[in-house]
């Protein structure tokens, strides 16, 4: 028992120490947590289709059986109708005698089907008895029967009768109409003399015409069609191996027509374009047409320009912004009256183009630049960071990038890289330009404390990119369906 005080003392000491530890926890400073965290951010694979996802309803990618990629642009340039090829005049035909011959103004037209029109017969009568007049016109038929109409009238004075010509057609013999009339009293059948007899045909419109129409010149467009969004992109050197431009013409006119291009020119993103020169364009293009037994049908004409028959490869020296064209067309270009054709009220022809650009060639010095507003909230805790970027590229395209950090007035306050950084190495290609091996590029974006200060201070960012095909554009390359780009980005931050 004499040791009991010792144990009591030890127990008290234990209590004191325990209380001290509990008290310490109230004076505990917030620990300085400085983790170093590394995580992968992005692991993305982008196919060539995704990359070229610039298509609209007119532009699309094509793949040949070997998977080679082409960019095809297809659109209608012009649609022309033939309403104006034949314009029917109003006819005023006085009949000083009971029978006359009238020469139709469109002498080379053989047949005209009327969709609209009115015929009127006007005369003066000097009898007050009930009478009839019969008008006959040979060459104006309905259902194969010549026009013959009888009109009744009472009393003397001026008379006027009107007939709807819808459904009638002119079928000329030697380009002439034979008109005659005969007037008699109803009761006695005695002949009646009429004065100032006039036949008029007005407001005529046709739905079918056949014959020789002469040199009708279609009033077509001097116009431009957009191909791609306008940008500042302009390659210093751009050479496509074998671009093709195809004119596609659908025609339902039954007459010979020749298309003539005064201008056909791809407009580059910058500067002047080069007019496409080809013998076919210079001489004009005679388009196919349906025969008189093929009324209502369309005939296609397709003519392709390539490096063999034109200067297209030279004219297409950049990704075009637009296609300018000035085109007209003329009927019966050979002036041969024996060329009998037809037009209908629905006849038309459409000139379309299809530009096929096999993505095979060389390009260098394509500079892209874009400026965007961006403001990052400062994350005080990050003291230093690093972005690891890995690109695995099986596209024969190499890209160098610089990113400038700008203030509000777009003054450069810093840049992300010391010098322009190659972010994509071009895939290796064989002698035929086909990709044989993907290229990998690994680089770090070091965000030092000083760089982070600039990053958090920036108000805008400008990205400048320089693109070229493999080997700085000095090697012909072929883009293929299997080409893809894999981007992997990791982020490491020290807090």
């Amino acid at each position: 028992m004499r040791y009991a005080p010792v144990y009591t003392l030890l127990l008290c000491l234990w209590g004191i120490v325990g209380c001290e530890i509990l008290d310490e926890t109230t004076r505990l400073q917030t620990p300085d947590w400085q983790p170093d965290i590394a995580i992968p951010l992005i692991d993305a694979s982008v196919s060539i289709e995704d990359l070229l996802d610039v298509v609209d309803s007119s532009t699309f990618l094509t793949f040949d059986p070997e998977g080679r990629v082409g960019l095809t642009y297809e659109t209608d340039l012009i649609t022309a109708t033939g309403k104006d090829i034949v314009v029917l005049p109003n006819l005023f035909i006085p009949m000083p005698s009971e029978a006359i011959a009238f020469t139709f103004p469109l002498t080379s037209i053989q047949t005209i089907g009327l969709a609209e029109g009115q015929l009127s017969l006007a005369f003066n009568s000097n009898t007050s008895e009930a009478s009839e007049v019969t008008l006959n016109i040979q060459g104006l038929k309905k259902d194969g029967v010549d026009f013959s109409q009888t009109f009744s009238f009472n009393g003397a004075g001026a008379q006027r009768e009107v007939v709807d010509l819808r459904g009638y057609s002119f079928a000329f013999a030697n380009g002439q109409l034979a008109l005659s009339y005969e007037a008699r009293r109803v009761g006695t059948g005695a002949s009646v003399t009429l004065d100032e007899v006039v036949v008029e045909m007005e407001n005529m419109d046709y739905n079918y015409a056949e014959g020789y129409f002469g040199n009708y010149i279609f009033s077509l467009a001097n116009d431009s069609t957009n191909i791609s969004t306008s940008s500042e992109a302009q390659a210093a050197r751009f050479r496509l191996d074998d671009p093709q431009l195809t004119l596609l013409i659908d025609n339902s006119f039954g007459v010979p027509i020749r298309i003539r291009f005064e201008e056909l020119e791809f407009v580059p993103q910058k500067g002047e374009g080069i007019n496409i020169v080809s013998q076919a364009l210079q001489e004009g293009i005679d388009i196919n047409y349906p025969s008189t037994s093929e009324v209502g049908e369309y005939r296609e004409t397709e003519i392709t320009f390539d490096k063999g028959n034109s200067n297209l490869a030279d004219a297409l020296t950049s990704i075009p912004r637009a296609l300018d064209f000035d085109v007209d067309a003329v009927t019966h270009p050979n002036n041969d009256p024996s060329e009998i054709g037809f037009v209908t009220d629905t006849s038309e022809f459409t000139i379309g183009i299809r530009t096929e650009i096999p993505l095979r060639g060389q390009m260098s010095g394509l500079n892209l630049s874009t400026t965007r507003d961006i403001s990052l909230t400062e994350i005080d805790d990050i003291k230093e960071a690093n972005m690891r970027v890995i690109t695995t590229n099986s596209i024969p395209l190499e890209v160098r990038v610089q990113i400038y950090l700008l203030d509000e007035q777009e003054n450069v306050i810093d840049s992300l890289f010391a010098e322009r950084q190659q972010v994509l190495a071009g895939a290796l290609v064989d002698a035929q330009g086909d990709v044989v091996e993907a290229a990998e590029e690994i680089f770090d974006i070091a965000l030092t404390p000083e760089k982070l200060t600039s990053v958090f201070a920036m108000e805008k960012v400008r990205m400048v990119a320089n693109l070229s095909t493999t080997n700085l554009g000095n090697t012909t390359v072929q883009i293929a369906e299997r080409n893809a780009l894999q981007i992997q980005i990791g982020f490491r931050a020290k807090f």
Binding site: M1, Y3, Y7, L10, L11, L13, W14, V17, G18, I21, E24, T25, R27, L28, Q29, P31, W33, Q34, P35, D36, I37, A38, I39, P40, L41, I42, D43, A44, S45, V46, D50, R388, V389, I390, Q488, I489, G490, F491, R492, K494, F495
Partner: protein, 453 residues
Amino acid sequence: MYRQYITYIFLGLWMSLGGQLLAQQEMGIHLMPRAFQALWTNPAHYMPYRVNVAFPQPYVHAVHSGFKYRDLVQPVPGTDSVRLNVDNALQVMNDRNLISLNTTVEELSFSFRILKLQLMVGARVRGRLSLGYPRDLLQLVWEGNGASIGDTMDLAPTFEGQAFQEIAIGAALPITKKWRVGLRAKYLAGLVDIQTAQAQLDFSTSNQYYQLALDADYEVQVGALDFGNITTLDSLSGLNPSVDPDAFARNNGLGIDLGVTYLPSERWKIQASLLDLGYIRWRVAARSYRVRGTLNFDGIDPSAFLSPDTVGFDPATYLDSLVQDVTISDTVLDYRTSLSPQFYLSTTYRFPFKLRLSVMGHGERVLDKWRTAWGVGVSKDLGGVLSVGGIYSIRNGIYNSLGANIILKLGPTVIYAASDNVLSFLLPESAQFSSLRVGVNLGIGRSKKIDKN
């Protein structure tokens, strides 16, 4: 001969210094022959009293091998504040560290001696919970994975928790004048068991562009603790474990303790014992839950959710896609767990004036590894009433473990208290383990001859 014994002991002591983890080595009680609880450490131990009764009493032993309080919480020079120095704590940690809580509640035990045969009967509830955690896990939380790019980090915690009722009957018998042997048979009734049967959670950060991967093969076995079916990650939420009432009757097993005491002379006593050889068979609510697979995060593909065909980024769907290669299996088991075998090895020399000097070792198999501890103890009987003692032990490279014990005999009443590390009460900020045992026994019929030893 004695020199040889001592050589063996110190050779073992030297070898044990390479051990990295701690167990629940209770050492001081082994060197307290007047306490009934010494009998639990060696069934061949002869109690100095003819009749002994141990009343209900607790024992608690807590260990943390990772770091000391003062390794983590340190004063800020020039101020009265303290700060967490996690870097320092990580530095002093081992690759794998152990938090362990070992408790025993002695319900009622007694022994008596008839002629030279000592018989004992006892009942106690034993429980242990060991949690092993890797330094990498805390390092990942505190330092991030930046410093471990290109390496594999071990994130798998291991744990072993078990509670069981033990009913023992034992006997000690001298077979010669110098040799006494002891045997104790134990009926075991399992109360609950949970342990990691497989623990692999390898986390790696690639040095390519920091892709993350978690390679998992993690299996937890439970007995008498019903978690229900777990076959998907979703089923992990809302777990409501329950203890099966049939467990006590049906999750049972057997165990034995063996001991020997050698008395080469009146002054020397050498003891050796091998304890807890046995098993418990878990049949009620016994299941295995295993997660296997590799979870890779290589970054997000923006096109997957920026596509016009998709509504937007759905984190839940994305996470589901990440874990699609991970499988969870749930298997009904009927399994056995071995007890954690222990050994005690000690030699005691009695000097004049009832002063005893002992050297001892203890080993226990925990989490599939033998954990050893070695110590030197001294005790003195102050008459027939009071005994005091102390023990210095070395375990897991910890050299500042100083234990103390006291036994007070008031008539038949034996009151005792023992701790293998009293410094944990006086300087808790520098302690990595603590233990305490207090209790009241009855001891009737003292044998001076036996008590002398």
